[in-house]
Symmetry: C2
Subunit: 441 residues, 2 copies
């Protein structure tokens, strides 16, 4: 595929390259209706408006094999759920058709490139559009598939002998998260108030109520479901790819002190449900296909049949970074890792999640769990790990240091895949949020 | 209030009495569109159709203070979410107006009672309507507020000294459940397949994959949210009643063996997400108001401020029963208890859930946790407790016995409040489900 586009200022090394074509939901100052778009270079292409401008016969040519009425309907919704539900074969054709319209040597000159009227109506600088949640999220599940994170946290709380629970190597451990507090990139996050046990060793245990003192991040990859499964039916691990719409970055903000007191025996609750941020643009499964690799984590455990047998390359080598910006404006990259350190693949997570017949719906979101590398503090996806639960400071630019987040701090997750050979980059854009002060009580 | 209605065959001792007026979503053989209705005696009144038949001026009279356009809009939706969002003052007026139309001495004769045409269009026998999920459920949270259940299960697994975790008396412990697998009364439930550790003592621990051998029930009360709170803002415990739409019975089906292997450290997952059944008719908060009592569970712990201060009578004395019907048709009531054994009230659960700013939306569902009484096996809300995790059998009618559920078994939860003085009963109808065999593998 040619990697050049006629889009002004385009470079193949942008996150939103021709090889990417991520989908999102935008609105503009003139039209506050949220609607589907793709990102290309520094621009968003308003798909709803564009489809209405283009001759129907031409659309049939570009998106050969796709029902144009269905597509029009799907791409005039306020979320991407209906488009996701059309299924991966349709996503493939639509992505390819849009690449054909946007590439430098496009034969479809009049569809966009050479029609100034249509361009003016449909192409907008990303800096001028407002992004919305891309999907209506029915259910959100958060897994725990980042091996180095699970191990490091386990060592911290239970020592190296019992770091991982006995089930960890047998199944992708996960829990149900809170869908209502998932927000899009850029949404401010309020420091939560909660019950905290200040002295865990004192007896009797006496909590206090106040703002969390241990506000943390979790660097994760998110996966959106497209094709549903019926209640009572499971998804085969080898068919699970067909149930995936695409991927986003995900920051599972966590209040470690609230979590520590509440989580036994039923799992994390208020320590997590005050906010989860995802990046705005959904990178389609097909765009990430060239970056599949074998997981770096060797699991010597004999797997149960339903988790076995899918292809060797099951995870992605997405370079991931965590930036912390303090209120004084100084910025430090505090973590760098890769999603190749996930021990379980998303197809395995889907096979496990549906094993007992749990139905998944288009728009359901799966989080990978925190991703950390095998190295030192600079490869960690949470401050819990970087600071050994607050015991050591992370040094920042501008003479700053942190154990956990302060009010006014901003966190930005970034992620991209790069093929050094041809300079192609497929990236996720930003997943960011700024902390503001807790509610007065 | 007069307790007599002109509805054919009406008796004040029906679950769906004039003092109740529960809301649900019905469809009929002639019109498959799900639409709002109320239940009265053995009948459903199709509200969408009825509102369209009644003169607008008359509606303004009956529902004085309610915006009739808003009400029409809300009661022509396929779920009750929009109606719930109108808020408790509106629910109160609408319930009262409908009681006026339905009571024996109604002054509104032409609105329904004496108009055979309207009656034929809007009143249907309950046996002839199909019930649907009453709400679109965004998020489902399950609490653990049944003290005797939590204690009994704790003793079973950790002994009497450590039966309750240290946080139990300080906060309403809860976890995020799965919304996609919540189904309405009567929906069959498939026995789930999952990973099971057959011999928990053997090392190394080696699970197998197969149908659960420990399929259980959990007798719970469910609570639907009406008024939302914004992300970042909490709900005061004394204001929380205004955020409640109404109540249903809830059976949180559980696979104990799957749950036991998976739940450490992040909580229940596949052991629960294969199905949760709720009763079809939402009993409004106002209908239960006369049956409020002080909880039977004395908590001597000094509570955090945000959980304190709401009125003394905080839980309901709803008589609850669990019926088990085997495939041969014989039926046994295996459990009888009351919701007065909940230690935490729903207002306290809401105050805790939103303490850190978690947003709740109309249609969100809260489960109380399993409700058990202080007595013997006949007062328990789960087979886990009745059988001491499968060690003892529960004897049933027809020479049957069970530890956990077999394929072909049906469970029906029932619940009602009764005022012995005036014979008024406010009930929930059925919450039932029949088990069918696991998927072939």
């Amino acid at each position: 595929m040619a990697n050049e586009s006629w889009i002004p200022g385009y470079s193949p090394s942008t996150d939103f390259s021709l090889a990417n074509i991520p989908f999102g939901i935008i609105s503009t100052p003139e039209d506050s209706t949220p609607r589907p778009a793709i990102a290309i270079g520094d621009f968003a292409l308003d798909l709803k408006t564009w489809l209405a401008e283009v001759n129907r016969e031409k659309l049939t040519g570009i998106f050969s094999g796709v029902d144009i009425d269905q597509l029009n309907h799907a791409l005039s919704q306020p979320t991407l759920n209906v488009f996701a539900a059309l299924g991966r074969p349709v996503h493939k054709i639509v992505r390819k058709g849009l690449q054909d319209v946007l590439r430098k040597d496009t034969p479809h000159l009049q569809l966009l490139r050479d029609d100034d009227n249509v361009k003016a109506k449909t192409l907008r600088r990303l800096s001028e559009v407002t992004m919305h949640l891309p999907m209506e999220i029915g259910d959100y599940t958060d897994f725990y598939a980042g091996y180095h994170h699970a191990y490091a946290v386990g060592v911290m709380f239970r020592g190296p002998e019992n770091a991982l629970q006995p089930n960890y190597m047998h199944l992708p451990v996960g829990y149900h998260g809170r869908a209502s507090s998932i927000v899009v990139d850029g949404t401010p996050i309020r420091r939560p108030v909660g019950q905290i046990l200040l002295d865990p060793k004192a007896e009797p245990k006496q909590p206090v109520t106040g703002p969390t003192r241990k506000l943390d991040i979790e660097l994760e990859l998110g996966c959106f479901i497209s094709k549903p499964n019926k209640m009572g039916e499971s998804v085969d691990v080898n068919q699970a790819e067909e149930h995936i719409f695409g991927y986003v970055l995900l920051n599972d903000w966590s209040a470690r002190d609230i979590q520590a007191w509440e989580y036994v025996p039923l799992g994390p609750f208020n320590g997590k449900n005050f906010g989860t941020t995802i990046s705005a643009w959904v990178v389609l499964a097909d765009a990430l296909e060239p970056f599949k690799v074998k997981t770096e984590i060797e699991n010597k455990t004999e797997l149960q049949e339903y988790l076995k047998g899918h292809e060797e390359k099951t995870v992605f080598d997405i370079k991931l970074e965590v930036d912390l910006r303090t209120a004084d404006g100084s910025m430090t990259t505090i973590g760098r890792t890769s999603s190749k350190y996930l021990m379980w693949s998303f197809p395995q997570m889907i096979a496990h999640h549906t094993l007992g017949g749990c139905p998944m719906r288009p728009g359901d979101l799966l989080g990978s769990g925190t991703i950390s590398g095998p190295g030192g503090v600079e490869e960690r996806g949470s401050l819990l790990e970087m600071t050994e639960n607050g015991k050591k400071e992370v040094l920042l630019a501008g003479m700053n240091a942190r154990t956990f987040l302060k009010d006014g701090d901003s966190i930005t997750l970034r992620g991209f895949c790069a093929d050094d050979g041809d300079g192609v980059r497929v990236g996720f854009g930003r997943c960011s949020g700024k902390i503001y002060g807790a509610a007065q009580r």
